[in-house]
């Protein structure tokens, strides 16, 4: 089995990202999967992208454009 390398883009581990850790993943071309060198996450590119979307759950106002910074009744 050949050594791992970097994939098309430099994906971080989505599981570690959710605990505020930025760790580049490496790509295993034989298994066609990204894997984390620190935790136990591994997955395809599609799975990484899906998990990255999931990681955004905490950004409840990510799409909101604020016009007032003291009015808390504005939702």
């Amino acid at each position: 089995m050949a050594q791992a390398g970097k994939g098309r883009l430099n994906y971080r581990c989505p599981s570690c990202f959710m605990r505020d850790l930025d760790i580049d993943m490496f790509y295993d071309k034989d298994k066609q999967e990204y894997y984390c060198i620190r935790c136990q996450y591994r997955g395809s590119e599609a799975d990484v992208l899906a998990k990255n979307e999931m990681a955004r759950f905490r950004y409840g106002a990510m799409s909101k454009r604020y016009t007032d910074f003291e009015n808390f009744s504005e939702k």
Binding site: L9, D20, L21, D24, Y59, G60, M62, Y66, E70
Partner: protein, 612 residues
């Protein structure tokens, strides 16, 4: 004055941080490879073009490496002539073949070198700059500039009047985010421009004698809520940082958060006599052709274009003034005075909560008040000590440049602890017939006002429900300018039983440190005093307590950070107390208990002094 000012800073960094590690993966290290140098310069040119296209002037911070590059020097001269850009000098971007050959090290953070090496490098870099441009720069900077470094630069090169001098709340959190490999420990500083004292960069100067002679600006303008809790490098006026945080729609490539962040900074003018500030400083490594983490180059570039376009739009609408760093230093000196605080009432603009913080910074303290915890003080830095804190090789703090805290709710717990012990917080408990409610559990919001030289934070009243009594209580925090004191007043607006009385327990649990880990507390001394009576507890982790009815003050002296913190009180039946911690709870507590009835107030003052 009604001004929102932006500094846009670019640096031709010939070997961008990250680029060699990221894009060079799988290749042996070679920081002199031609492709890297060409790409780096191209990114710098792209950034300059984007700013100029939007009618914005920049500060070009030449790096040591770029001073060896004729094209970079020529571009800087041309853009100075054509666009009014300032030619400045950064102490970032030291890595290059010439530097490594000369200094035989891979260190690149100027504040981590020994003082002798700092002097040698500064003379080398400034001398090289003079050779290329025929003058010395008026501004400089790094991620952090320690006081000894600033003092040396100002003495040797008096033309320098502005410097990028810290990254706000970049400390253990950033270290952890980078898998414990990014050694920028610089928590506890101001988030907006300030005049550093000669003794400690993070602590603003209180007067001319303490004035280091420069105006400092932060590296980026950061989210005052998100950065305090999470990774600072995701939440700042750095478009690619926002991408790093994944705070964008992957389908539309939109990121309203970036504009909310800029706009909330604009809003801070309301609390600072009409003045607000932003800084954008994107190193070329963030716009490399290989992409950056999940973001392709096209998105990296788009985000920078959008960021500049928004600043450009604000400028066209007359809502923004773009300045170079040296221009800003002149403006700051003309419009601010030493003891004038920086205030920020800041709301959550990312997570969708209603959380709100109030940040206060002056030459005597930095304070964070959390309205989601009933107006508790959740972070406190005693700038009044002007703590001498040399950093770099050969000192006691090779990397740790953070200003120590007395209270830090994230590193040393706040209200919530696991089953035992206490966390650092300044709050109050209201008690009635054996029931007790901590104001930390009373979520509310605050409103800012300026009354003379006092900055006042008035919280919306909260209701405290006991089994047989409801109390409507309001908290007001007052920061009298130039005193190093905070007054906290609890006002009982009404009670369901107008004849009832409640007990109030004003308390501050504190310790000291710069990280999550406890320090040796045995040099601390606790004291409570009432007239000639005085009880003293030398800290020995023995869980002792002392109290005196009618106490004049309760205090703690902390020799390791040369700070004395004192609580005084004005209220019915007041009793002051001090409490020692124990090994599993290495804290100390200062407090006052008393009685509150309807329409009455109970006031305490927190006073910070240098201990020696």
């Amino acid at each position: 004055m009604d001004r929102f000012i932006v500094n846009i800073v670019h640096r031709p960094e010939m070997v961008p941080e990250y680029a060699e590690k990221v894009t060079g993966q799988g290749k042996a290290e070679d920081i002199g490879r031609g492709a890297l140098l060409t790409e780096s310069l191209d990114i710098f040119k792209t950034q300059q073009a984007i700013a100029h296209k939007n009618g914005l002037k920049t500060t070009i911070q030449m790096t040591y490496a770029s001073l060896f590059n004729d094209e970079a020097v020529a571009i800087a001269k041309e853009h100075h002539e054509k666009y009014g850009d300032e030619i400045s000098l950064s102490l970032l971007g030291l890595p290059c073949e010439q530097f490594r050959e000369k200094y035989q090290t891979k260190d690149f953070c100027i504040w981590m070198f020994s003082m002798e090496e700092k002097k040698t490098i500064v003379r080398d870099v400034f001398g090289k700059f003079y050779d290329r441009f025929g003058f010395y720069p008026e501004s400089t900077g790094s991620y952090y500039m320690d006081a000894d470094l600033i003092n040396f630069i100002k003495a040797e090169y008096p033309s320098v009047k502005c410097a990028v001098a810290t990254c706000w709340e970049e400390g253990p959190k950033a270290y952890h985010t980078c898998n414990n490999s990014w050694y920028t420990f610089m928590d506890g500083g101001p988030w907006a421009p300030w005049i550093p004292s000669k003794q400690n960069t993070h602590a603003p100067a209180a007067n001319e004698a303490e004035d280091s002679g420069i105006v400092a600006i932060p590296h980026l303008s950061r989210d005052l809520l998100a950065c305090y809790d999470g990774n600072g490098s995701n939440f700042g006026t750095h478009p690619q940082n926002v991408l790093r945080g994944m705070i964008y729609d992957t389908k539309t490539w939109e990121y309203p958060y970036l504009y909310n962040l800029i706009d909330q900074y604009r809003y801070l003018a309301k609390f600072n006599n009409g003045y607000a500030y932003n800084m954008m400083f994107v190193g070329p490594g963030w716009m490399n052709k290989m992409g950056r983490w999940e973001a392709p180059y096209e998105l990296l570039k788009k985000s920078y274009e959008d960021g500049c376009a928004y600043y450009g739009k604000l400028k066209k609408e007359g809502k923004l003034t773009d300045m170079t760093m040296s221009e800003f230093a002149d403006f700051y000196r003309e419009n601010k005075h030493y003891t004038e605080p920086e205030c920020a009432l800041w709301r959550d603009i990312l997570y969708g909560s209603d959380k709100q913080l109030f940040w206060y910074c002056d030459p005597y303290m930095r304070v964070c008040v959390n309205m989601d915890q009933g107006g508790a003080i959740v972070d406190l830095r005693p700038y009044v000590a002007k703590l001498e804190w040399p950093v770099g090789i050969g000192t006691a703090h090779v990397q740790d440049a953070s200003y120590p805290f007395l209270i830090q709710e994230k590193y040393r717990a706040g209200y919530f602890t696991h089953y035992a012990g206490e966390g650092t917080i300044r709050s109050a408990k209201i008690c009635h017939n054996g029931e007790e409610v901590d104001l930390c559990l009373c979520r509310t919001h605050g409103h800012f006002s300026q009354e003379g030289s006092d900055r006042v934070l008035t919280l919306d009243p909260v209701e405290i429900e006991f089994s047989d009594l409801t109390v409507k209580l309001q908290t007001v925090l007052t920061f009298p300018e130039g005193t190093g004191q905070v007054k906290i007043e609890r006002r009982v607006l009404s009670m369901s039983d107008p004849a009832a009385a409640v007990t109030v327990n004003e308390y501050m649990v504190a310790c000291y440190g710069t990280t999550e880990y406890p320090e040796d507390m045995t040099s601390l001394t606790l004291a409570v005093q009432a007239g000639q009576q005085k009880e003293i507890i030398p800290y020995a982790y023995r869980c002792r307590e002392a109290s005196l009815a009618g106490a004049d003050e309760a205090n703690c002296t902390l020799p390791p950070i040369k700070t004395k913190v004192t609580m005084t009180c004005d209220g019915r039946d007041k009793t002051g107390y001090v409490r020692e911690g124990y090994a599993f709870s290495p804290m100390f507590t200062l407090g006052y208990t008393g009685t509150l009835k309807e329409k009455e107030a109970f006031s305490t003052w927190l006073k910070l002094e240098r201990a020696d």
